[in-house]
């Protein structure tokens, strides 16, 4: 997994690529919670994620919960078909705010 956090434009953009699994999900969790602790809205780009397991999904859920508590906008961008299947399987596809264009997230800020 590669994890690249970009700040600016009034929010943090976390770009993920590769496989998000048990080995890398603690790193993802830290990035998500660290960004939210800084008080920035967070958009997570999953467009280049080839595989995400339930530990990765758990990190996304924990981030969602933390953002909600802090009243910070939190969205998922460019969900790949694979990641979408996992979200659907876990019935989380209706819970997250999903975007296909960062401009739509920016418009919510």
């Amino acid at each position: 997994m590669e994890c690249n956090l970009k700040s600016g434009a009034g929010y943090d953009l976390l770009e993920l690529s590769g496989e998000v699994d048990l080995q890398y999900s603690p790193q993802l969790r830290e990035k998500i919670l660290g960004s939210l602790r800084s008080g920035a809205p967070l958009l997570i780009d999953l467009g280049r994620v080839s595989y995400i397991d339930s530990s990765g999904i758990a990190s996304l859920v924990e981030g969602f919960q933390a953002a909600k508590s802090a009243k910070l906008p939190y969205g998922l961008l460019n969900i790949s078909a694979t990641a979408m299947q996992v979200l659907t399987l876990t019935r989380l596809d209706k819970i997250f705010d999903l975007y296909t264009d960062a401009a739509h997230f920016e418009a919510q800020l």
Partner: protein, 269 residues
Amino acid sequence: MTSVAGTSASPAISIRNLFVDYGPRRILTDVNLDIPASQITVIMGQSGAGKTTLLRCMLGLKKPSSGSVNILGTDIVRASRRELNAVRKQMGVAFQGGALFSSMSVAENIQLALREHTSLDEKTIQIMTRIKLDMVNMLAAENLMPAELSGGMTKRAALARAIIMDPKLLFFDEPSAGLDPSTAAELDQLMITLKTTLRMTIIVVTHELDSIFKIADHIAVMANGRVIEFGTPQQIIASANPEIQGMLNRKPRENIVDTDAHLRRLVGG
């Protein structure tokens, strides 16, 4: 040249020349089998055919008399304990009876492997547990003890525990046994979803024909300790082998055995 049952160019499991003896009794005879990755392979056969012994060999619970069992690139027959443990972390197993620890709640049973094998944060473990419980429609049973579960709930809890680490390989021993048709159908659908969504290679040992033809991409048919046929459900249905047709049509074995050989088995000589 060894004849190998299987179709995949890069199988998840390759079994070669496998022999298993219990004392003087030969249980498996020259089993050769390739199990395709990211598909559901059902191992079927009548009681005593060797299905459970083959499963135990794949889990590294039974050392064969000879032969190899290559799982995800490691021959577990010759692997060190450390190598075997590394392979086992990529396996999930749902045993027929559930095998839940009676002194732990459903959630604690499911979390056990995560606590033993990972250093994930407590919150992550909790969310993963609930995701898996939700997948098997058992979220409300999180704090129940195993003694409080019905047969179907025990099976589903065992499945949630088997998939908690998102294993590459899922072994399921008699998933439908003792379940009502509706619960059995739910489990069948869940296995198909796990295969397609999480790319799991699923190996199911069963003799429930209804379930087999709903879930199987491939079927390995066992009889007398051998894999006598391997193929897609359509290929198995079309098999000319009378023993397979006997199983499919649930004919009594007596209708298809060689009567002279059967007499010899009964009276000796």
